[in-house]
Symmetry: D3
Subunit: 255 residues, 6 copies
């Protein structure tokens, strides 16, 4: 129903360089959905207003949602929202990623019938975008703040992604609980990661010691992939598998 | 020590149609346990009083416990308790289920020595009963409220049960962490689900795409059961198994 | 850079009998790290001051950190901090364990570059030390209080360790999410447990029904070890394995 | 616009004996006002829904509002709401008083343009109704609970009314800040008390030692009335006055 | 030590039209004070950083401070901060007033040794600036939101200023507790109001019924001024006075 | 029923130098009262246990009560309790004062039937003891922390005492709301101050500019005493009075 961002298309690029000018179909969808649901469920109407309808772009809506979920007395929501807005409004990559991820959730999770459900209710989406912010902070040299965020993300969402890991866009992080992604892992675009996936080290290595996941791969629930190995583009790792060696592209791996 | 509800027995039916009239052995047990522990541990005495002893039935005690655990600024405890009481006092099925589940926890989890421990301390029980409420709301057409509850249940308990899933009674949901049950899954009566179990889709299907678990089955820790397949009555799925095909009744499946 | 406690060395013993007299290298390191990071990241400076620099020993710093993370309206942080300080200041075993565990985290988790990161940001460390306190309370006969703590630990950290379980020292509990350790389990010194490990029962036994893990063993992510069996010293259980029989010392078990 | 309760009229009596049967004009007005304002100010729509529109009578709406304002970790909102509902649903006097007081606020405070403003925004009304509940508890012999409530009312609203004091109905307690009413004071119907009024003792007496205020009197801001004296019906005490002797009915007293 | 804004001076005007360009001496002072105190009192360093040093102008610092003090579950700090920033960044009058008031506090309250103390610790300043925001909202037609704010201001600060009242700038509101200013009151520039002052109605009038206070007047503690009367420029009303008639300019009134 | 401390008696001195050795009648009374009330009102039993019965001396009980009332995200209860315990356990003057004040409340406020009521429910007592702590911090040179405390005391209790003011012991601060005591004020022993009293400056002086109140004086509700004047020993200032000149000892002043 809503236009789809095609990766690298000029439309996507234009929208993302200046969302308000070129139109922002995902943001428009989110607002329309929130408006419709606020009417049906008055108990949530102010939540929908405060989270979506009172904001002027997806970035600020997302900052609001995440700040209220991650706050604790150490990092008040009012502090987090400033940090998050700063990061998101000034990083064109993250602005594109949050949209491509929303598209991935709606397109690839049959239970996610609306963009706004990812934004508002799915901790897979919440933890992924929180990681993206921690990742920017880590790269800016604010490592301790990034670790403090990782710590809260792990407590609140039970998702533990090291802020130094590199994760592409168009990611589906379904359900989220138990996901662990290590410090030197790399995840390509359009990858799907189910609950309980580990991209870990073997415990015998230092330095670059975590998996590299190729674009479009699908990692099933509870799959454990260890060591500095490569999972090829479009490969599928069956749920519960233990993978310790390279996996060829487009292969279905099950162990 | 306390009478056991036998499914379908006239005693169970009488109790559940009018717990206060016919006597309510589980509720009586919970109160006696709370009274005894309040004396031994004064630091918890008001908690026990507020959670158990100040209420006149198990339903209201449970609403109180769940509302205080799931509240956030979007859904205050005082709002949740009204919603929960409404659902529980008006749904005879849920009133029976919360008792049969309590019996399942006490009967089948050796560490759960008292009914009140399920009610007060076990997040497996908390997340199961919270799902039951979300399920009723979903069936009443309040889908967004049900999703908002699912979202909180997943954050607070790390248990992710889609409110549309159908789950029988006399269920043991042990430890809970990481459990995922998809939208079209069906779980029969007297099933036991250990931590980390997934009843998921294969990712290739739409519509009715999740497993159907027969009565009395036991799903071991981390078992992953995918697709619209049947696990027969009384089957046992070993921990960590990946199940992609039908499992015959009473079979021990290990993969 | 900092002296290492060697288990059983006279230095370790001296430090632990009277940390302030003999010098306490881990506590000194934690303070130096906190001081340095407070300067670099002002948004966290008061957190670092309140959590570390305002205290006179590691025990009180840890009580402060855990009390603020585990508090809820039933057990206020101000109550928990008293209980935690009481337990920790009066139990020489726990005082030694929290140091040996800190050393294990820094020594065996390559992402944990500083002792203070374990203390402040790693929920594996938080949940382990919270269990240690619950364990002492359980042994003092305060079982319900111990269960209430276990319940909060499971909610906040998604780690479920029965307070009656016996766990040695020098433990690395990496990431933590999904870990389950049953009532009669025993874990030796210097064991490493990755996320999602289960030390559970088979469901057919009562009484002493959980695994005994030998010193120095390594249990990979999602490994499920069931029943009253022994995993020998230095054994390695591969990620995702299901172990139902004894494992010989120093063996690599994969199933 | 809405029918006025005339004290002692048969209409008022009928309404108050069974509000839902006879119609409840104040409750109808409150709901209409809330509905209209929820549309105009979406940021408050859920607050209005939760506080007013989701309830079926004024008593429950008021319990909800007060419980959320007075809660602290000692007395959770979910506990208070039960206590408040119990008191209000079972005490026909308090059910009449909360309506007559609402009428007094709307009728005699020119800034209070709507009944719902008293219910939702005026701490004079909030503290008066909270006192009424504490008074019932005191008379039931639950003195310490009544004192604990008085303590919270004094902290939250800066209004200190002893729960043993006797206060009539149709009361306007304007602004509220600083009001003090002592243990043996009696206040008649339709009295107006401005901010900072004291009905205190002289410090030299014990037993019955506080003022008796006649029906319809008006006590100006900061008026201090001390000792077991009588202020006659309809008397007006000028702001800032110190009154130590009886005041005749309908007299304007200024000192 | 810092330049003083002279009302109407070209310097003041320039600063206020574009604080960052022309220099903003009060904001510079606030930052210098916060920096110096953060070093001396580490327990407050993050508070000072979050409240002052992390912001780029006085407006945002003040929004942060007020939002965190006034928040409740109805109006989250993250919502309030957006509303407050919107009002303050777009209203040149309020930007000038918050500076002139800060100058009044530092200049006229001998205990207020620093600008930052008004901003951070004085509820007279907090309640005055909160009123200014409510006043703008009221004038924008958002009356219910303004009332909800007034309600919180009265609860949190025990200061009750009707959002429709008109208050000039360079105001000292010392201590604050008990202050009441009615709907149609007008207060000129450079007025000082001590604690417990009432600018109220006589109860006999409707419409324009509250006092008009001339520029530079001083209203002593507990002074009660009632009715649509004028207190002339530079008049002084003694503490505890009741004023019911016009007061000539520069007169010392005591009753 | 309980022994009374006579100021300067050897008994009082012995108790206060080492409360636990010599017996501590007020602390014994508080515990007995709490025990008796915990039995009668189970909803408050944990509060009474946590506030009183779990502590080993009055100082720690009071620190607990005050820390939980004054906490906010800037100063967590767990931080405040450390600061408060430090101050109270190390300052023999404050240890004596909190007992003599408790005696003053029970002896001179007829509504305060028990020592524990002052400790637990009376904000006059809470604000007075909070001031005592702020005063010690101020004298230690921690002025900004003292101001931050004063700010919270003024918000939570509506009592504004400058931390530099000097206040004797055996003080009754009845009701508290609106009390203001300036920076250079001095209050002798056994003074009673009713609600709304101001000990302020005239606004024309700098330096030592606030009143000196002689021992045993009684200041009535709303009395305003301004300037560096003396109120003699045992003088009584009538409620609502404005006092601008010296008052002779034992005189009844009314204006």
């Amino acid at each position: 129903m809503f236009p789809i961002y095609v990766m690298g298309s000029s439309r996507a690029r234009a929208v993302l360089l200046d969302p308000s000018a070129a139109g922002d179909p995902i943001w428009e969808a989110v607002k329309a959905e929130a408006r419709s649901e606020a009417e049906k469920e008055p108990i949530l109407s102010s939540f929908l207003y405060a989270s979506v309808l009172s904001h002027d772009c997806l970035e600020r809506a997302l900052s609001f949602v995440l700040a209220n979920r991650l706050e604790d007395p150490t990092l008040l929501a009012t502090q987090l929202i400033d940090i998050f807005n700063d990061v998101m409004m000034n990083d064109v990559d993250i602005r594109r990623s949050i949209r491509l991820d929303a598209q991935a959730f709606k397109g690839r999770d049959p239970s996610c019938a609306q963009y706004s459900w990812a934004l508002l209710y799915l901790k897979g989406y919440h933890s992924l975008q929180s990681y993206r912010i921690a990742h920017v902070l880590w790269n800016q040299g604010r490592k301790v703040l990034a670790l403090a965020l990782q710590s809260r993300i792990s407590e609140v969402f039970a998702v533990d992604i090291h802020p130094a890991a590199k994760i592409g866009e168009g990611i589906l992080l379904d359900h989220g609980t138990g996901l662990v992604i290590g410090e030197t892992a790399v995840v390509g675009n359009w990858v799907s990661l189910m609950q309980g996936v580990t991209l870990g080290g073997t415990g015998k290595e230092h330095g670059d010691r975590h998996p590299k996941i190729g674009q479009g791969a699908l990692l099933g629930a509870g799959a454990t992939i260890l060591g500095n190995i490569t999972v090829g583009e479009g490969a599928m790792i069956a749920a519960g598998s233990l993978v310790l060696k390279h996996v060829a592209p487009h292969r279905l791996e099950r162990s």
